[in-house]
């Protein structure tokens, strides 16, 4: 059969052009357009296939682009940053110092806000507390220079109160860590630990409340004298949400795992719907509860070291892990990156740079302009299939992870960092599918198997350090989409008769046939992709074919008749009957 020629749609052509332009411009592209209504110029930056709005100028973007060596590892990291920013899902990079975790985050902030933009950043330390994160009331800075005895006395009392509170916090953290270490070392049971944690909180909560009420009373008393001015200094988290006149900032939180666990928990508030940042956070200040609404530019990214390699072995608290998209930079990825830097003399050898940093198509996939939408197309069989695959993969991943876990070295035991899976990841996957559907270059249709693979890589597999564990999970996914022995399964009449009993999870019965889930997704996408125009064109074609076949049959029968009539061996009487 001759090969079918496929003409790409204008949309597909544009996607290909974008990909080519990205390859030519080193993975980062600037674009601007004029809003037809407001006539306002809108700027966009396309970062490895993900387009987001920017405040940076074309020149800034060009300059920043040249400062990044996009090794395969960097491409993965930068693309992850761009995807999470676009979906406003908070991200954490975990890896050794010097692998470029905060370096790339800062470059990204500059690609969005300009080369000279101030960056909102906290470096976590064992002493980082709510003062830096949320903020605090304090006598106005100028008051410290005052000689007024009332002011001096207020400052002395304030400092004393702060010191006492700090001491209580330090003690809380020491005890909290001790209990956790004992659980890990098997020195105490979970039940016993829970009881001790409860007792710890019983001791700590009243101290917290006492601090708040004493501070409040100090503020009230001293404000009444008219001599002391107090000010609320918003911390980084509140600024990230509502600073810049409500537009918000990108906040970088470096060395997150060094922050004491009770203060890490302040960030639990950022967990919102569908695994994205919450729409607002609340803060109990001295004037009551204040709500900080998330600005349109708010985003938070975290960097953390492997607890196994950090003095004190601090880790990110488990409930927080579920609120973050988590990407470990494995030792192998770090080494690959360093090799590129060494072999290109830090990016200075331009020819070698081109040779060693080609854009990886699997990473730099340009999403389709208009994907299939849940409310319209996906809300039927196709959506149900996707939901089933997400459900199956999530359950199996969590089960295997809990049984086998992950290792930082081949010889090492289970990882210190534990993850909690409470159901945010599947929701993130669905949100991802709304924005990052990719096209199958051969068929031109949306490739949901590949889109799902990309999503699972981002939200699940990226959490793992061990390459062995990553491989195992990828194989699991492959089995869910296309089981290995699919040809043999398809031929099994027993399974068909038993209405699918005995089928592996990666295969289903569809219209009385056994198909893999990948095949089914493709069939359903093909059906869903047919437009009304295409439908009527196909119907017209079918009608024309039928008419042609009918005419041909008429001609053929006439030819046969003519040849019979001309045959001298056929008697005239028969010919007469035939003519009639």
């Amino acid at each position: 059969m001759p090969e079918k020629i496929r003409f790409p749609s204008p949309e597909e052509k544009r996607e290909k052009e974008t990909l080519e332009a990205l390859k030519e411009r080193g993975g980062i592209l600037y674009r601007e357009e004029i809003d037809p209504e407001t006539k306002e110029v809108k700027r966009f930056v396309n970062i490895l296939g993900v387009e987001v709005e920017t405040y940076a100028s074309k020149e800034d973007i060009e300059e920043i682009r040249k400062e990044i060596v996009l090794s395969e590892t960097d491409q993965k990291m930068l693309r992850t940053i761009a995807e999470c920013y676009k979906l406003r899902q908070p991200l954490l990079f975990e890896g050794d110092p010097g692998v470029g975790k905060t370096f790339l985050m800062k470059k990204f902030v500059r690609l969005i806000h300009g080369k000279e933009a101030p960056i909102l950043e906290i470096v976590g330390t064992p002493r980082t507390s709510e003062l830096e994160i949320l903020g605090h009331w304090a006598p106005a800075s100028k008051e410290r220079e005052s000689k007024d005895p009332v002011v001096q006395d207020t400052i002395r009392r304030y400092d004393q109160l702060e010191a006492e509170y700090q001491k209580a916090n330090d003690e809380f953290d020491i005890q909290y860590k001790k209990i956790n270490d004992e659980i890990k070392d098997g020195k105490t049971t979970q039940e016993e630990a829970n009881k001790r944690l409860e007792d710890l909180l019983k001791w700590y909560k009243p101290l917290q409340e006492r601090y708040a009420s004493e501070l409040q009373s100090l503020i009230q008393r001293t404000t009444l004298t008219g001599k002391v001015e107090w000010e609320f200094k918003e911390g980084a988290l509140l600024q990230a949400y509502s600073g810049r006149e409500g537009q918000g900032y990108i906040l970088i939180l470096d060395e997150f795992n060094l922050i004491p666990s009770n203060y890490q928990q302040i960030f639990l508030q950022i967990g919102g719907e569908r695994g994205a940042l919450s729409d607002s956070i609340s803060f109990w200040g001295n004037t009551g509860k204040t709500r900080y609404v998330r600005g349109k530019d708010t985003w938070i990214c975290f960097a953390s070291n492997y607890p196994e390699k950090t003095p004190g072995r601090n880790e990110v608290v488990a409930p927080m892990t579920d609120r973050l998209v988590w990407k470990t930079i494995t030792p192998e990825e770090a080494e690959k990156k360093k090799e590129v830097l060494r072999r290109t003399a830090g990016g200075r050898l331009t020819n070698r740079l081109k040779e060693l940093t080609p854009l990886i198509p699997e990473i730099v996939a340009v999403p389709v302009e208009k994907g299939l939408i849940w409310d319209e197309v996906l809300n039927e069989q196709l959506g149900e299939q996707i939901a089933d695959i997400v459900d199956l993969f999530d359950r199996e991943f969590v089960k295997i992870y809990q049984e086998v876990g992950d290792k930082i070295t081949k010889e090492g035991g289970k990882r210190t960092q534990q993850f909690e899976f409470s159901g945010r990841n599947p929701l993130r996957v669905f949100d991802y599918l709304d924005h990052f559907q990719v096209r199958n270059p051969e068929t031109g249709r949306i490739d949901f198997s590949q889109t799902l693979k990309n999503a699972f890589e981002l939200y699940y597999i990226n959490r793992l350090v061990s390459e062995e564990a990553q491989k195992r999970m990828r194989e699991l996914l492959q089995e869910l989409l296309e089981p290995k022995n699919m040809e043999a399964i398809k031929k099994s009449e027993e399974i068909l008769k038993a209405r699918g009993k005995g089928l592996p999870p990666g295969a289903v019965i569809f219209e009385d046939k056994i198909v893999s889930r990948k095949e089914l997704l493709d069939i359903l996408v093909e059906r869903a992709s047919i437009t009304e125009e295409e439908k009527s064109r196909r119907e017209k074609e079918e009608k024309e074919t039928r008419e042609r076949q009918l005419k041909q049959a008429q001609f053929d029968s006439q030819d046969a008749l003519d040849s019979l009539l001309k045959n001298p061996k056929i008697p005239e009487s028969v010919k007469k009957v035939l003519q009639e």
Partner: protein
């Protein structure tokens, strides 16, 4: 004061200051932008030297000395740092308290970007400042204090040249 310095120490310190003054490193592996390192002077247990003695080695006006003796303190530190930076002075910190998280953040930013950003400073929500090409930052710390009291585990990584005297 400088009398307490042996000739050997004097020589080593001069070399140390020269390195701090002249040697720049790329801000990151790719960048051609060169930045100057922060320096760390560790005073050994048997040393009778103090930060004031180091300070007195410089010509008047070249260095601004700051005593960090309160672990919650950061505002005065920032004020003094900004003044030193505006004047193109060196900033010598007599570190007698565990630096607050804000100070650690500022030091890490300077060591990576040659600039720092702090919030709520000089009336700005976010205040950004590039380091003056003439300014250098040196911390002077007792070795015992460094071992026992500094809580930030990567404190030493913030500095380039380190000298023990």
């Amino acid at each position: 004061m400088a009398k307490k310095l042996s000739q050997k120490n004097q020589k080593e310190l001069n070399q140390f200051f020269e390195v701090i003054e002249k040697v720049a490193v790329p801000s990151d592996l790719r960048s051609r932008r060169m930045i100057y390192d922060l320096g760390l002077i560790i005073l050994e247990p048997n040393s009778s030297l103090r930060a004031n003695d180091i300070y007195s080695l410089f010509p008047p006006g070249k260095v601004r000395l700051f005593l960090l003796n309160d672990k919650h303190e950061y505002e005065s530190f920032l004020k003094e740092l900004v003044i030193a930076n505006r004047e193109g002075q060196w900033f010598l910190v007599d570190c007698q308290a565990d630096p607050s998280p804000t100070i650690i953040t500022v030091l890490k930013q300077i060591s990576e970007d040659n600039a720092f950003t702090v919030f709520h400073f000089e009336g700005q929500e976010l205040f950004r400042m590039d380091l003056n090409p003439k300014t250098r930052i040196i911390f002077c710390i007792d070795s015992d204090f460094l071992e026992k009291e500094i809580t930030y585990p990567f404190f030493m990584n913030l500095f380039g040249p380190v000298i023990r005297i």
